[in-house]
């Protein structure tokens, strides 16, 4: 009975340990046959810069005109001193609706940006909650992340 109780309390203590999950990303590599720039009309690639001024999101694609891509360009300054994740998600979702096969985002973080902000930015870009026919559901937005290795 004593042994059992001791084991129980030990396992209860262990059970309270941190459960770690993961977020996948890739590092840019030079490749002769692969390109991160989207090549179909339904696809664009987002390039998101995060820094002390907020978010700056631009889009690239091989099948869209420069004017068309420039219309998607947005800057989201800090809101009450914090990064405006809600506005970023809303804009990325609107782009995703227009170019539904898009899934790749290049994340460039300026020096001085905290790792925590990088993770929250990836969260904001990965998925969004939408309401379809009165039902709320989570849809992927830009879940594939390439972390730009060159930081300003």
């Amino acid at each position: 009975m004593d042994i059992l109780s001791n084991l129980l309390f030990f396992l209860l203590a262990c059970f309270g340990a941190t459960i770690v999950m993961g977020i996948n990303a890739t590092v840019p590599v030079q490749s002769a046959d692969k390109n991160d720039v989207a090549a179909t009309k339904q696809t664009v690639t987002a390039t998101l810069s995060v820094g002390a001024q907020g978010f700056d999101v631009t889009f690239s694609g091989q099948s869209q005109s420069a004017d068309e891509l420039e219309k998607l360009h947005r800057k989201f300054p800090l809101k009450d001193g914090e990064l405006d994740f809600a506005a970023l998600t809303a804009h990325l979702l609107s782009v995703k609706e227009k170019y539904p096969r898009s899934d790749t985002m290049i994340l460039a973080s300026e020096s001085g940006t905290k790792y925590d902000a990088m993770i929250k930015t990836m969260d904001a870009a990965r998925e969004a909650e939408v309401t379809v026919s009165g039902r709320s559901r989570i849809v992927p937005v830009f879940p594939t992340v390439v972390v730009a290795a060159g930081s300003k």
Partner: protein, 157 residues
């Protein structure tokens, strides 16, 4: 009239208690073994929280705490105020970290495990306060060493 001054002897039945304890024990044992990756508690490492539900599998682990960077437990660089202490090499890599990761990669290939799935994947556990520049440098170094895919370890929200 019954009763009197005698003390009644009550025998405690432990069977039900044992049953409950045993059930709890097996449940916790199952939960404990199901957890794929355990992170040792470190005062200098506070992982960010995330909504991600992607489970982890054991990988080569790069840990960036408030004071140091290590690869699978071997220290390769020091960190101060979120930035790397010391010079980088000509390619912008952390020299000792690159050597360590290359050794891991070479020994894997020598053992015939170089082409396995996720052989180019590293798990990055970094403190929330780490500067993005440090993260970029770590990722660049890992990329040079052949680890192109990274999985950021986060605490489930």
């Amino acid at each position: 009239m019954s009763g009197g001054g005698g003390t009644a002897s009550i025998a405690l039945n432990l069977t039900a208690l044992m049953d409950i304890l045993s059930n709890l024990l097996f449940f916790l044992l199952a939960s404990y073994t199901a957890q794929s990756v355990e992170v040792e508690g470190k005062a200098e490492l506070k992982l960010p929280s995330s909504s991600s539900q992607l489970a982890l599998t054991p990988q080569v682990t790069i840990t960036v705490t408030k004071n140091a960077i290590d690869v699978s437990g071997v220290p390769v660089a020091n960190v101060s105020q979120g930035a790397i202490v010391g010079d980088l090499d000509a390619s912008g890599r952390i020299g000792p970290m690159y050597e360590r990761l290359r050794n891991v990669r070479v020994s894997r290939e020598a053992a015939g495990r170089g082409d396995l799935a996720e052989s180019d994947l590293v798990l990055l556990l970094a403190d929330t306060e780490t500067d993005a520049k440090t993260i970029s440098t770590v990722l660049r170094t890992a990329g040079y060493a052949g680890f192109y895919n990274v999985r950021f370890g986060v605490v489930s929200r």
